[in-house]
């Protein structure tokens, strides 16, 4: 019986070969991703048509027919050489400083600029994952920066910075302040609430659950109204916090409740063995949480955490209901300026607002995506 006749036996080891050409490169990619089946081809065509339908008018409005300079509304009206005018950027340009600073005194606006620069510096330091001395960066961001910002923006007459009431703050300044405080406060508070909700102590659990469910069950507008109208009822008039501060507390509370649930979701995904291994090594509760459990839970929760940040950033527009002039509110005010009122000034204002919010939110999303990719490269499970 010759076994070799009935089945094949390799006589030499198989070499590793490059993949076939039509599977790689641009053509391979197109075939695999855009034209692999009838349905896929149809989708590709529909998408191309949609792009062809949407992009040219958008470009015409935003760039090609847009009016870039001018001194009043005449520039943005239809004229002989621009019969179909697009966005009236000249109007945004004129109103720009109001959109950024609100009614912040003109002589003191350099302080806001320093605040923006200091904030950008802090964000860059923390966001750049391989930056030197990130521990110092954290101290700067969470301790130095808040104090510096407070002194710069509110003023400190003792060192020669005139006081500026928060009712004068406005525009992008307010949006950035509310969003940053909300983001920075909501993560730690949310983590504490999430841990509290999983606590062994019934009182802590009850307190945290009540807070989370109450705040989650109420619209942000209501929270803001309560913070603005009801807080002064409980606190003596003299100690009633400033209106902007009330909005900050309201936004931070609201975001914390959502953050708590997002973090709790991450915590439930951590297997019990991780807790047991940490306990068996003798790590007490807080060290176990900080060193072992939270790093893993937050990584799992990262996409949802960023989701809360983005939602929070856009929700800051609601502070107008308690009379605070955030960025969107300043656009609203500017677009009714009789000097510039044209059929397109509203559209221009809102287009500008959309661009601003989109750039901020999209960069948050992209950055988070980068961090996720980096983390999953580092330790794939």
């Amino acid at each position: 019986m010759a076994a070799g006749e009935s089945f094949y036996l390799r006589t030499a080891l198989a070499e590793s070969l490059p993949p076939p050409a039509f599977r790689t490169g641009a053509i391979g990619w197109l075939r695999a991703n855009l034209f692999s089946s009838v349905g896929n081809i149809a989708l590709t065509v529909i998408c191309l048509l949609a792009v062809a339908w949407l992009v040219p008018p958008l470009l015409r409005f935003l760039v090609i027919n847009a009016v870039w300079s001018g001194s009043d509304r005449e520039a943005c009206l239809p004229s002989a050489n621009n019969p179909h005018p697009g966005a009236c950027w000249a109007f945004i340009h004129v109103w720009m400083s109001y959109l950024v600073y609100g009614f912040y005194p003109i002589g003191a606006r350099w302080r806001v600029d320093i605040f923006f620069a200091a904030l950008a510096f802090g964000i860059a330091w923390l966001a750049w994952l391989s930056a030197p001395r990130r521990d110092l960066g954290a101290i700067y961001f969470f301790i130095v920066l808040p104090i510096l910002s407070f002194v710069l923006l509110s003023g400190a007459p003792s060192i020669g910075l005139s006081a500026v009431a928060t009712s004068l703050w406005g525009g992008i300044l307010v949006t950035i302040v509310v969003a940053t405080v909300g983001i920075v406060a909501s993560l730690p508070i949310g983590i504490l609430l999430a841990l509290g909700r999983r606590s062994h102590y019934p009182t802590i659990r009850l307190l945290c659950t009540t807070f989370i469910e109450f705040v989650r069950g109420v619209p942000l507008i209501t929270v803001l109204f309560m913070a603005s109208v009801m807080l002064p009822l409980f606190v003596p008039e003299r100690f009633a916090p400033d209106k902007l501060l009330r909005a900050l507390i309201g936004v931070a509370m609201f975001a914390s409740a959502y953050m708590a649930e997002v973090v709790r979701g991450g915590l439930t995904a951590i297997p019990r063995g991780q807790y047991e291994a940490a306990q068996a090594l003798g790590l007490p509760y807080w060290r176990m949480m900080i060193l072992v459990i939270l790093p893993q839970a937050l990584r799992i929760a990262l996409p949802n955490i960023v989701n809360v940040f983005i939602a929070l950033f856009k929700d800051t527009t609601l502070v107008f209901v308690i009379g605070i002039f955030d960025f969107l509110r300043t656009i609203e005010a500017a677009r009714s300026d009789p000097h510039w009122i044209t059929p397109l000034s509203s559209a221009t204002g809102y287009a500008f607002a959309a661009l601003f919010y989109f750039v901020c939110c999209f960069s948050m999303a992209r950055y988070a995506r980068g961090v996720e990719a980096r983390l999953s490269r580092a330790h794939r499970r």
Binding site: Q274, A280, L281, P284, R287, Q296, H379
Partner: protein
């Protein structure tokens, strides 16, 4: 045979036993999981706990570093009684190393960081010293070259050896092994058992829940057989395998040693 005999080769009788379990009872709801357990483990003793699954082996082991609570009875580890006092629990856990069936390495830390975490944050050891010690133990379990990798890049056998090194880095007086080879592919069981055999020859107190009868015969001083939440039989390995007393033991050995 319900109460354990005292091992004849007590190494340091004056220091007292390593572990004393006195009349421990545990219930999961209505289920009586541990029934009047009495065990005394001498220092340096190596004990293998075996028996059918659901018999309470792991539960008993996990009570010894209080990963599990019990309702009645006392457990004294290294002279410290385990009570509700968190300080005492942490004190016991510092001196008791544990190796789990599913390794339970920390996936977000490298192998080296897994080993240095507790020495740095529990023993307050300087990072450099902790790393030195960790590397020496990683050498002992024969994977020093994997120190900078993340656990997910390692095979099951390697991960379990890291877990052993991680426990040893705390220089524990007692090591608990909870089915350390049950989750491993067959070809990796030996490398882990070899590591444990080597450890056993060092004279550290070991309690091992395992189905590896060859290991039990080779290294243990005593074998505890548990079924239905009770200690059914305790004996030296030779007597245990050659002349089991209890019917349950005989049945179990027939099934395992086929």
């Amino acid at each position: 045979m319900d109460t354990p005999q005292n091992s004849s080769d007590l190494q340091s009788a004056d220091l007292g036993p390593a572990v004393e379990v006195i009349g421990v009872n545990k219930w999961y709801g209505e289920f009586h999981a541990l029934r009047d357990i009495n065990v005394t483990v001498a220092r340096g003793e190596r004990i293998v706990i075996c028996g059918p699954s659901g018999g309470g082996k792991s539960t008993l082991l996990r009570c010894i570093n209080r990963l599990e609570d019990w309702q009645r009875g006392r457990i004294i580890v290294d002279g410290i009684e385990l009570t509700d006092n968190p300080a005492q629990i942490v004190a016991v856990r510092r001196d008791v190393g544990m190796v789990f069936q599913h390794f339970n390495l920390f996936p977000h830390l490298t192998v080296l960081e897994n080993c240095t975490l507790a020495p740095i944050w529990v023993r307050r050891m300087p990072k450099k010293d902790a790393e030195e010690i960790a590397m020496s133990f990683l050498k002992r379990v024969k994977i020093p070259d994997q120190a900078q990798k993340y656990p997910s890049r390692l095979s099951g056998g390697q991960q379990q050896r890291v877990a052993i090194a991680r426990a040893l880095c705390m220089s524990p007086k007692i090591m608990l092994f909870d089915e350390p080879t049950s989750a491993l592919d067959p070809e990796m069981v030996k490398e882990v058992l070899d590591t444990m055999v080597e450890l056993a020859s060092d004279g550290i107190t070991m309690l091992v829940v395992s189905h590896e009868m060859g290991f039990a015969r080779q290294v243990s001083d005593r074998i505890i057989f548990m079924a239905d939440g009770q200690i059914v039989e305790v004996n030296e390995p030779k007597a245990f395998f050659d002349a089991p007393q209890h019917e349950r033991t005989k049945l179990f050995l027939r099934q395992v040693l086929r």
